[in-house]
């Protein structure tokens, strides 16, 4: 059995996990900083970095203890090296390098988005490539086809805001708490998604790329014009209509990719894929096409280290290890090797 200790600190969760053979979770510890960042209406990078620094050793030690293992028993140390907030990434990367050096263990730098994709292997150990996958989170919106283990064909990505970022910004405009995704998801249940027709932005020259900043502006304009005309804002309708516009675009691009590839499975990943309306829409669309929808359980959708361990196992098997000069790469693209 190959045991990988994985560390994740790319945004506002300090996380560590021990994964066996890339598919079995022996432990999964997540220390969220959300309470602190809520005070500021979003993640403050410097505060996130400081909190990672305070918490990282306890989180990693607990992951080892929960797995009933010790550092000397693990076969490799994996860490998210990008993309993400550079100061936050550096804490995890530096800590992992210190552990790997003094513990004499192999080091594996992992791509955060590959981690999200690989959360599906934890959820469905029998899953094998190829399959298309939509990764939607606060920092990323990427449509890719997983062509093999550790091999990705990127079909489309957001040209501006990530889907989750749009949720956060619209939620803030509606006076909803941070993070915006769960708040809008909940409020939408009480609203009419057909009430307001927000634009479904197309991106010139790409069938698969996304753009959410225009949609966000349309929502803000709608709110402004209501206020100017002295109309009360139907908050739940705005939330539901905005959410529908986001989901429609994600779904149409995803189904186009699915139809072209002819794959019989489609995977979701990332924090926004925990959105109930999004899951329901994808489930329905996949069912109509006789396609199996695969989606991690919510705790594996948001940032966690178990998924980093799952992705690292693929690299471990291929013998792809990192040197001690591994850096943090804030803008690393899916499929790129640092």
């Amino acid at each position: 059995m190959v045991r990988i200790l994985a560390i994740e600190s790319s945004c506002d969760e300090t996380a560590a996990a021990v994964i066996a053979d890339g598919r079995e979770i022996l432990s999964n510890v997540i220390s969220s900083q959300i309470d602190i960042h809520t005070l500021y209406g979003g993640v403050v990078p410097e505060i996130a970095s400081r909190k990672h620094m305070e918490r990282i050793k306890r989180v990693v030690d607990r992951a080892l203890a929960d797995a009933g293992t010790e550092l000397s028993d693990v076969d490799a140390i994996a860490v998210t090296s990008g993309p993400g907030l550079v100061g936050a990434l550096l804490v995890g990367v530096s800590y992992a390098k210190g552990l790997a050096f003094a513990g004499r263990k192999p080091l594996i730098g992992v791509h955060h988005i590959e981690g999200h994709v690989c959360a599906n292997f934890l959820n469905r150990p029998s899953l094998e490539p190829p399959f298309p996958c939509l990764i939607v989170s606060g920092g990323h919106t990427t449509l890719a086809r997983v062509t093999g283990y550790g091999e990705y064909e990127v079909l489309g990505r957001s040209r501006d805001d990530a889907a989750g970022e749009a949720f956060d910004k619209v939620a803030r405009a509606l006076g909803l708490p941070y993070p915006g995704g769960p708040a809008i998801d909940k409020l939408s249940c009480e609203g009419n998604p057909e009430a307001i027709e927000f634009p479904h932005a197309k991106v010139d020259g790409s069938e698969y790329d996304f753009s959410f900043s225009g949609l966000k502006s349309a929502v803000l304009n709608h709110l402004n014009s209501c206020r100017m005309q002295g109309q009360e804002v139907a908050t739940a309708d705005v939330a539901a209509s905005f959410q529908k516009a986001v989901i429609d675009v994600l779904l149409s691009h995803s189904m186009l990719a699915l139809e072209r590839s002819g794959d019989k499975r489609f995977a979701l990943a990332g924090g926004v894929s925990a959105n109930r309306h999004l899951r329901a829409a994808f489930e329905e669309a996949c069912k109509e096409r006789g396609v199996e929808l695969i989606c991690p359980e919510p705790v594996l959708c948001t940032d966690n280290a178990a998924m980093i361990g799952a992705a690292a196992y693929i690299e471990y098997q291929k013998g792809h290890f990192s040197d001690l000069d591994l850096n943090a790469y804030p803008a690393l693209r899916l499929g790129e090797r640092p």
Partner: protein, 236 residues
């Protein structure tokens, strides 16, 4: 006491190995600020060069701040990871005290000064009495002018060191009415060997559990400052 010392609080990346009697080796680089890339390979090379037995380490010495926020965390997180793997504690040394230990022979006041941006410096005043380092003004973030005023209140000669005395050399020249010197280039910046020697003088009593180590930044994040100002403003 066997110590691994790391300082990445400023432009210099520095690592040293100390066996309680002598500095087995020090490796310092003042090139480009890519501590995240260079620090661990430097330490690995140094340990191999001197056949250092990692397992015999009594503590990992870290510059505990002030300094570059990111720099402090690169060295600090790496040091915590090393301490975790070795099961040893951390021996934190304030960056400014570590700098003072570059100049233990100086008769007079020592003023380590780091550029804190926003027209401020991280600075304080110390003096050696025999082998003992005496603090006259504790380290903090303050305006350069304020620091110079403080120094001008005594006629005792001062030696400046740290990157702040490069950044503000002209202002020091214009503002100092007391005799002063600037430390020579080979003694002016952070050194992990000086940090280790300082740490050894503090001894076991200064150990902290690796779990608990976090840098002393001496300054809040911008978001925290602005929020505190907003809250103070709305309260009045």
């Amino acid at each position: 006491m066997k110590l691994i010392a790391i300082d990445s609080s400023g432009n210099v990346a520095s690592v040293a190995l100390f066996d309680g009697e002598k500095v087995l080796g020090e490796y310092s680089v003042d090139h480009k600020k890519t501590h995240s890339v260079t620090l661990l390979p430097m330490l690995k090379e140094l340990t191999e060069r001197v056949d250092y037995a990692l397992e015999e380490t009594d503590a990992v010495v870290l510059s505990s701040g002030p300094g570059s926020f990111t720099g402090l965390r690169i060295g600090g997180a790496a040091g915590k990871g090393i301490a975790a793997a070795l099961g040893c504690p951390i021996l934190p040394v304030p960056t400014l005290e570590g700098l003072c230990f570059r100049l233990p022979e100086w008769q007079g006041r020592i003023c380590p000064m780091l550029d804190a941006r926003r027209s401020q410096v991280y600075s304080g005043i110390w003096r050696f009495e025999g082998e003992e380092l005496i603090c006259i003004e504790p380290g903090k973030a303050l305006a350069l002018e304020e620091m110079l005023d403080m120094l001008n209140r005594s006629e005792e000669e001062v030696i400046f060191l740290g990157d702040g005395c490069d950044r503000y050399r002209e202002a020091i020249e214009a503002g100092m009415r007391t005799g002063y010197r600037i430390a020579p280039a080979h003694l002016r910046y952070q050194s992990a060997a000086a940090l280790a020697v300082r740490a050894a003088s503090l001894g076991n009593a200064a150990f902290v559990a690796a779990d608990d180590f976090a840098p002393e930044y001496l300054r809040q994040s911008q978001a925290e400052r602005e929020r505190a100002e907003r809250l103070a403003g709305s309260g009045s």
